[in-house]
Amino acid sequence: MRRRVVITGLGVVTPIGNDVETFWNNLVAGRSGVGPITAFDASDFPTRIAAEVKGFDPEAYMDKKEARRVDRFIQFAVAATRMALEGAGLKITPDIAERVGVIIGSGIGGLATLEENTRALLERGPRRVSPFLVPMMIANMGSGYVSILFGAKGPNTTVVTACASGTHAIGEATEMIRRGIADVMIAGGSEAAIRPLGLAGFTSMKALSTRNDAPEAASRPFDRGRDGFVMGEGAGVVVLEALEFAERRGARIIAEVAGYGLSADAYHLTAPAPEGEGAARAMRLALQDAGLRPEDVDYINAHGTSTEYNDLAETQAIKAVFGEHAYRLKVSSNKSMIGHLLGAAGGVEAVATALTIARGIIPPTINLTDPDPELDLDYVPNVAVRADVRVALSNSFGFGGHNAVLVLKRYDPGPTVETAKEGVAP
């Protein structure tokens, strides 16, 4: 019998709240976190808006010196991890340390650090490049630093699959618990790429919304007026545990990770495959892994980026997988409010999906005022709805054609508990 994996802790740093309750309340209230960029002077850029994290104080989560030695994306990862562990009521003591692992993905890594040191190199020479450039910049340091700070000595790695990083991280972490090489995994994603170089790169691709005069209306997934995504930043981390481990310590179970599916488009650098073929396969594989039928799914937390291509391809993929049921289930995009957190998106959206199941409320897709005739599913426009959500998907698709899908399920002890207990790893 395969080990069951449950979520027992949640942590977020987001453009609409730097703790789980604030984030959730704003998500349900349909508040946008998008505004003019304040991190730097963006007046020369075609896009001058983003969903920035506001009022984040790294020293609330680590001491001053530690905070100075790490990039902003690592600070976010540490903050979200601390919240998730506290929420789970889990302290990593020496007796369990070797069974606790970490996978915190990042699409880009320490972009601010890279930029600052590139400037130092070009303007003032190699002697002015910081010894912290490499450790601060590398995308794996979210996982590395969390293990150092919290003493997690189990499996430790990272995932770099652009906008699918956070979802892959949680999926891979789930697999590690299933394989029995860890009892607890700290998993999710972290990103802090709202920097001149990051913004310039995405604007050159024409990937970003240029609705500078109405920032809060800029991210409008599935709306006819959508004109690109809005960069976001932050982190989302979950504590995953083997069910028997969580039960033994009397942990509060928020939801179960029932399935994980992944695929490649094998098509294009940045464009999704026609009809969302790769995305559809990832959804099917995730359901198969969960042992569920398409009809069992109540809700899909969509990738929903607000780009012309994603929202069309994703809708087509959902129709291909779910058939008539596609019109009965609900779909919504957290990105309409928090923007696109790139490598952190899957982490934050998994947190939102777990809460959607646990609390029976589906956050809306805001700014959906002019429906695109081609996009005709129930995207929960503008207002949250109460719904009994037993099974939900969380979709993430990354540049490079990486597709990752998680199936989360309401935790039901069910008749398999005793069987699961017998399978306790030593």
Partner: protein
């Protein structure tokens, strides 16, 4: 340690310029290493007392180069272990 301490006292008495320099050095170190300025005593060792690791030391030396407009060779940098060492080094170079 008393020897170093008395040496520092002697400098304080005879040289207000060094006193000012010492203050600046202490401020830079406290800021760079994220420690309380009170901990940055003349005899304090960067590694043993102020919690600096090898990367911190490299960055600290870079900061001294910036603040005091000088180049510190790797060989010289290796000999700088305490706060007093920094003062002595900079004074010698500025003399």
């Amino acid at each position: 340690m008393p020897a170093v301490g008395s040496c520092y006292n002697a400098i304080r008495e005879v040289s207000p310029v060094s006193d000012e320099l010492m203050q600046k050095i202490r401020t830079v170190i406290a800021e760079q290493l994220g420690v309380d300025e009170a901990q940055v005593t003349p005899e304090a060792s960067f590694k043993d007392d102020l919690g600096a690791d090898s990367l911190d030391l490299v960055e600290l030396v870079m900061r001294f180069e910036e603040e005091f407009d000088m180049e510190i060779s790797d060989e010289d940098a290796e000999k700088i272990n305490t706060v007093q060492d920094v003062l002595d080094y900079i004074r010698a170079r500025q003399a």
